[in-house]
């Protein structure tokens, strides 16, 4: 254990020990530790293997900025060890190294494979021979990525929530400037939300909602999604204050990715917050006073400072103080190389701009502390529409213009509130010590300085192109560690100044976020009819049908269909859309919405209707019954219920007619009782004359069934005498049970959706969306009779339908029969004489009552006549079908009307 004695302000509680495992090995930590600090204290130096070359990577920023310490916790990948607090029993695992972190076979890509893996290598190295690409792809897919998602991991069961929060002011960043801004706004009486990434608690501020350990992910038109735990807070504020701070920049030199190379802030955080010694002998390389101060503080914590390279020629007061402590400070020097294989064991310092080994000096050390200056964290501000410009004096991009309602405070705005002597910053060379080895510009994606030069040589000479080609700035750090470095390299190689090169915008999410958080709680409303419990009791095969859970069958669809023909069947059709259209103008309203007439429908009668769009295409269908002079009861398809209600209410809003629209879909249950025995069964239960004369086909009657007030529609969707019984959903099971009991002696059977599909296909009753698509017109769908072009008033679709009435459609919907018993796939292709696709099969079933295969298909119009032969190509098989234009079962409707 390399714990230091108690440090002032340390965050660990040495009284409480926390135990977890890393790659299965037990690790002891203190309460308050992060995974990173605990592992480092336990001697771990390699935390991950890099993305492409599988090089060792260790702690660098200790602030959740760099990609080096990403691990999996309890199976969930993408966790930054350096900021994730330890918990008892957590299982931490490394990513991206096989078989283990210490021995990784893919390391070969670094040792021998570098020339095969330049930027864009997957378009170069792995392109020939072409036929091997599928193999390459498998290999690359396997090699790429950080971590694996497992089918059974706990995260898949994770329930996440989202929350919407409207505020006056949102402050992003809880450092001193952010807290001050939040306080000031709250004092003015504004409703303030303050969010901060860090694990530190922030003292409560009256009037401010504080979210810590919360990450702002992006800025979307004034909405900022903030991830905290299992909640995505969608925060929308009138005013945004960005106190996102500045990010310490690394230096680009040979071996700058070795474990043991740390940012000055990272080394200090380890020592001061967690009392973990970052190393025993340190070399420090800096461009600014913060690096010098870090050297002094590390020395105070017991780290021996071997040498300090200060890029600036001018000797600063802080450098003087170090010298007085006996530390050698080399002015005008920088670091050229970090040496070592598993861990830093030395550093080479040299003067900037002077080539040759004679000026270089090597030091033995186990820690290299670097500080390449601080870049304002402007990424979220850029997303919000802010502009930056290059500040040559500070060597970084600073805020220039801010959009209205957006302000920046603290370090991100370039305001130093520490009150210290104004710092001067030297701009580091884009790359130093290239002769010593690989110099990484981008740690996430393993992009070296040389790779960026190569991409420019290949013509990717703008920062936007280079970003996409080399993927620099596109890794988990989102440019925090590499954007400035890559711009500097681009400027050097293209001879431009940095301002001309410009910056790219880091796209959301600014922080790596589990997909589950973005998805939120899945909104999958499962609708169940009021009778659903009965279907379950009967052992129904329940499937999704849109939002509904529906009984597809009760075990034997063909037997259920036959029961409807021979005795009686009962199906739950509660899912139908049901709209009540009321008012003095209700008839005219429907006349305007449907191509046929409803104002002349007599009360107590029913008519079929097809809704068409103004483009003349079929939108939905259903039956419309007239209850009384001013009241119509409109049914729609189950899946179209919502859309039809929207459609009706839209036109009503536009036409402003004296009509009231009520959606009864959820409140009304419905069953269809059909079959030769249906009349008798209903007669037993209803206070109603059910005789063929008393209750005719297409009559709508109100009566009590089993004591429950019902609206009964005599319709024939399934082709037998049928009664669609609608009633208050609360009575669902009561009415179902009463009918089943009354029908028992008649051989009644419940039937599901699948037998209903067989039955309706026998009658060629279309299913909108199954047999029709968004291009189908009523004419082509063999329903010209539904369009009443002689109607005086305008109706939706009239003009288009007038046009289509005169035009021969290219294909028409017809029925077909197949001789050999094979049921073609729905969607099978109808081909013309030349073998070209000319239509498709929309429905096909075996009909048990007809004992043959029947179906519906779109066929070329010339073939849409009885007896025509069409060719169907179905998964390699060629089938000969015969067209039939009239219903397969009871073509004249005698059974239906009896």
């Amino acid at each position: 254990m390399s714990r230091l004695p108690e440090q002032p302000g340390e965050r660990i509680n040495r009284q409480t020990v926390v135990r977890f495992t890393f790659d299965g090995k037990p690790v002891e930590a203190f309460e308050g530790d992060t995974i990173g600090s605990a592992l480092y204290a336990a001697g771990q130096r390699t935390f991950s293997r890099s993305f492409k070359y599988h090089r060792r990577r260790g702690l660098m920023c200790c602030a959740g900025q760099c990609p080096n310490c990403i691990v999996a916790v309890d199976g969930a990948p993408g966790v930054r060890a350096c900021v994730e607090p330890v918990r008892d029993g957590m299982q931490v695992e490394h990513l991206n190294a096989k078989p283990g972190l210490e021995l990784d076979v893919m390391r070969a890509t670094d040792l021998v494979g570098t020339r095969f893996t330049p930027p864009g290598f997957y378009y170069k190295t792995f392109i020939r021979p072409r036929r091997l690409w599928p193999v390459y792809e498998k290999v690359l897919r396997h090699a790429a990525g950080l971590g694996v998602l497992r089918k059974e991991q706990a995260e898949r069961e994770w329930r996440t929530e989202y929350r919407r929060r409207h505020a006056d002011v949102l402050v992003i960043g809880g450092g001193s400037a952010g807290v001050a801004a939040a306080k000031a706004a709250a004092t003015e009486g504004e409703d303030v939300v303050l969010v901060d990434e860090g694990p530190l608690a922030i003292e409560p501020i009256p009037g401010v909602e504080i979210l810590t350990r919360a990450s702002a992910l992006g800025y979307f038109d004034g909405m900022v999604p903030v991830w905290r735990g299992d909640t995505l807070h969608q925060i929308r504020a009138r005013r945004h204050v960005f106190a996102t701070g500045a990010i310490e920049q690394p230096l680009v030199f040979a071996g700058n990715d070795l474990p043991g190379v740390m940012l000055s802030g990272g080394a200090l955080r380890l020592a001061q917050l967690y009392a973990v010694s970052p190393g025993t002998r340190a070399v420090v390389a800096t461009t600014n006073d913060r690096g010098l101060e870090a050297a002094a503080k590390l020395k105070a914590a017991g780290v021996q400072i071997v040498a300090v390279a200060d890029l600036r020629e001018t000797r600063r007061a802080a450098a003087q103080r170090l010298s007085e402590q006996g530390i050698e400070v080399l002015g005008g020097h920088t670091i050229l190389a970090a040496k070592g294989s598993k861990l830093v064991d030395g550093a080479v310092l040299g003067p900037v701009g002077v080539k040759g080994a004679s000026t270089e000096r090597a030091f033995e050390c186990d820690l290299v502390v670097v500080s390449g200056g601080f870049a304002p964290a402007t990424s979220l501000l850029l997303q919000a529409g802010a502009r930056t410009r290059y500040d040559a004096a500070r060597g970084c991009f600073v805020l220039d213009e801010l959009p209205p309602g957006v302000s920046a405070v603290g370090d991100v705005a370039g305001v130093d509130e520490s009150g210290a002597e104004a710092d001067t910053v030297a701009v580091p060379p884009p790359v130093a010590g290239a002769g010593h080895g690989k110099c990484f510009a981008c740690l996430c994606e393993d992009v070296t300085a040389k790779d960026i030069k190569l991409s420019i040589d290949e013509g990717y000479d703008s920062i936007e192109l280079s970003k996409r080609y080399t993927t620099v700035t596109m890794g988990p750090c989102q440019g925090r560690m590499c954007q400035l470095a890559s711009i500097r390299l681009m400027a050097k190689e293209t001879g431009q100044d940095l301002g001309a090169v410009g910056t790219t915008t880091a796209r959301p999410p600014w922080v790596s976020v589990p997909m589950g958080v973005l998805a939120g709680r899945p909104i999958e409303p499962a609708k169940r009819s009021a009778i659903h419990g009965r279907h379950r009791d009967l052992g129904a095969n329940v499937k999704w049908a849109g939002d509904w859970r529906r009984a597809y069958d009760y075990g034997d669809p063909e037997a259920e269909a036959l029961a409807v023909h021979r005795a009686a069947g009962l199906i739950d059709v509660s899912t139908l859309g049901k709209l009540l259209v009321r008012g003095p103008e209700a008839g005219e309203f429907l006349d305007r919405l449907y191509p046929n007439r409803f104002s002349d429908l007599r009360p107590g009668r029913i008519r079929y209707g097809v809704i068409s769009s103004d483009a003349g295409r079929i939108v939905d269908d259903g039956t419309i019954g007239r209850i009384d002079e001013d009241t119509y009861y409109v049914t729609t398809t189950s899946s179209g219920a919502g859309a039809v209600e929207e459609w009706f209410s839209w036109w009503l809003a536009d036409w402003k007619m004296d009509v009231r629209l009520t959606d009864l879909t959820q409140g009304i249950a419905a069953v269809n009782l059909a079959g030769p025995k249906a009349r008798e069964i209903l007669g037993q239960l209803a206070d109603l004359d059910c005789s063929p004369e008393g209750f005719k086909y297409l009559d709508a009657k109100q009566a009590r069934v089993a004591g429950v007030p019902c609206l009964i529609l005599r319709i024939g969707f399934v082709g037998e005498v049928g009664y669609e019984i609608h009633f208050a959903a609360a009575y669902g099971e009561h009415v179902w049970d009463a009918i089943m009991v009354a029908g028992q002696t008649h051989g009644i059977k419940p039937f599901g959706l699948e037998p209903q599909r067989i039955l309706r296909l026998q009658k060629m009753h279309i299913l909108v969306g199954q047999d029709t698509d968004s291009e189908s017109t009523p004419f082509a769908a063999a329903m010209p009779w539904i369009v009443k072009l002689d109607k005086e008033q305008d109706f939706i679709g009239k003009w288009a339908l007038e046009h289509y009435a005169e035009q021969e459609p290219s294909t028409r919907l017809v029925g077909f029969t197949l001789a050999d018993g094979y049921v073609p796939t729905e969607g099978a292709v109808v081909v013309d004489a030349a073998g070209e696709p000319a239509g498709q099969v929309t429905s096909a079933r075996f009909s048990p009552v007809l004992d043959r295969v029947i179906g519906m298909a779109w066929v070329p119009s010339p073939l849409a006549r009885d007896g025509a032969q069409v060719t169907i190509s179905d998964e390699g098989q060629t089938l000969r079908a015969h067209v039939q234009t009239r219903p397969f079962y009871d073509p004249d409707g005698e059974v239906l009307r009896s």
Binding site: R164, D221, R236, D614, E646, W650, A653, D654, W799, E802
Partner: protein, 92 residues
């Protein structure tokens, strides 16, 4: 896309609560030519600026209303129920 809309019935809500009905266009009053019909059915002005458009409060009161929105900034200048107001002649 993320902004707020004020439903005339329910008040301020996230845009994801609503269904978009498109820009308000005039349905031809007389029998149109095929070309006019095609333009009405399939062409939109797609204005870069303030546009009058239909919205439907799908996850709320299920009312249609009219909004004036700047399509460049998504700033919503006005929302109102269509009743009593000439909304330009028709749904689109």
């Amino acid at each position: 896309m993320s902004y707020l809309l004020t439903c005339p019935n329910c008040g301020i809500r996230e845009v994801t609560d609503f269904g978009y009905g498109g820009e308000i266009s005039a349905r031809p009053a007389e029998r149109p030519s095929l070309r006019e019909l095609g333009e009405y059915n399939y062409f939109r002005r797609n204005r870069a600026g303030v546009q009058r458009e239909w919205w439907f409060h799908r996850s709320g009161c299920r009312a249609w209303f009219i909004a004036e929105r700047d399509t460049r900034t998504n700033e919503v200048l006005l929302t109102e129920l269509p009743g009593g107001h000439d909304n330009g002649g028709g749904a689109a």
